[in-house]
């Protein structure tokens, strides 16, 4: 069989295109499922599912190239086992040459065959410290995943794993920046409230902070919320944190959720 995906250069090029088109990892994972399904399909119909399990717990992200994949993935989770989960947990690829004769996951194979698929390949994507991810490929004929196709899938998985790792890395960094920005805005609010208390009570910064902290504890309200209310008794204008983001434009001051 011809290499269904063309050269490694094409894979890399397509992945780079996906990485540039949207900076959200969630979107990338979805696009990856479509890309893999398209890349491996020929006269044989191939569909793809991508599963991402973040490190430190967190919810599973699942993307599918078609509704049939959603049903097949669900069948794996229902029995808590299957080629994709096997690859995700052990790191080993799980190839199923024919769902009609393979005995490993009979309940799952029932669903797969019912939906018109006969061979399955689960492959781990290595994404470093970000957790674990796996690719599941379903083909509508038996024996599709021969050695040559598996080699291509492994190349694809290596590239896709690195690409996903970069996407997740970027997402982490953006989240860190947002968290710090929100923390700076919160500091402004609390510092302003401390200043107001200092003026009203003619006391030191440490004493003023102590008064604010006690108010927060007694009312069982967050320090920032107490500070916001105190500022609200003085002015209707929301506090502004003066700093600029990377692009040089003034960043928003109000922390999210306030």
């Amino acid at each position: 069989m011809d290499n269904p995906l063309g050269s490694l250069k094409d894979i890399t090029h397509s992945l780079h295109g996906l990485m540039l088109s949207d900076d959200r990892a969630e979107v990338f994972i979805q696009d990856l499922a479509y890309l893999a399904a398209r890349a491996f399909s020929s006269t044989v119909r191939v569909e793809c599912g991508v599963t991402y399990q973040p490190a430190h717990g967190g919810a599973l992200t699942v993307a599918s190239s078609s509704a049939a994949v959603v049903l097949m993935d669900e069948a794996q989770y229902a029995t808590d086992d299957g080629p994709c989960l096997h690859a995700l947990r052990t790191g080993e690829s799980a190839d199923v040459q024919d769902t009609a004769t393979d005995a490993r996951w009979p309940r799952f194979f029932g669903t797969v065959q019912h939906l018109g698929f006969r061979s399955v390949l689960g492959t781990r994507l290595w994404i470093g410290e970000h957790g674990a991810a796996a690719l599941s490929l379903y083909a509508d004929c038996p024996g599709f995943f021969d050695h040559q196709v598996q080699d291509t899938v492994n190349d694809f998985a290596r590239n896709a794993g690195s690409a996903l790792e970069v996407m997740l890395h970027g997402e982490d960094r953006r989240q860190q920046a947002l968290d710090l920005q929100a923390a700076m805005a919160s500091r402004t609010i609390i510092d302003l409230a401390v200043g107001i208390i200092m003026g009203q009570n003619r006391c030191s910064q440490v004493e003023a902070f102590g008064i604010l902290k006690d108010a927060s504890n007694h009312r069982n309200m967050k320090l920032r919320v107490v500070a916001e209310r105190l500022i609200g008794t003085v002015t209707d204008e929301p506090p502004i944190t003066h700093f600029t983001d990377g692009a040089g434009s003034p960043a928003s001051a109000t922390p999210p959720g306030s």
């Binding site: 919160s186 510092d191 102590g210 504890n217 069982n220 320090l223």
Partner: protein, 91 residues
């Protein structure tokens, strides 16, 4: 408060119980530091780490800010579901 100043029994007790509260609530240091920083904490994450590991002392106000930050994060943890009384169950 300097590095060499001997810590008091109160320092040790507060430090130990802050660490214990973090462990019990499964709060990671980066998360705790970020929240401590957001309520005007002034020392960095490495210093908090060193403090919790009994390598340096912190000024009392910073210790209290850290305790406050940990408590606010503990308050954010969803409470365990409570058992209902009969009249709280709708038919």
């Amino acid at each position: 408060m300097s590095l060499n100043e001997p810590s008091t029994a109160i320092d040790d007790e507060q430090r130990r119980r802050i660490g214990e509260a973090m462990t019990q609530a499964d709060l990671a240091l980066p998360q705790v530091w970020l929240h401590y920083f957001s309520i005007t904490g002034t020392v960095d994450e490495y210093e908090i780490d060193a403090y919790l590991n009994r390598m340096i002392a912190l000024p009392p106000t910073e210790c209290d800010k850290l305790a406050h930050a940990v408590n606010e994060l503990i308050d954010d943890i969803p409470p365990r579901p409570r058992a209902p009384f009969r009249d709280e169950i709708s038919p």
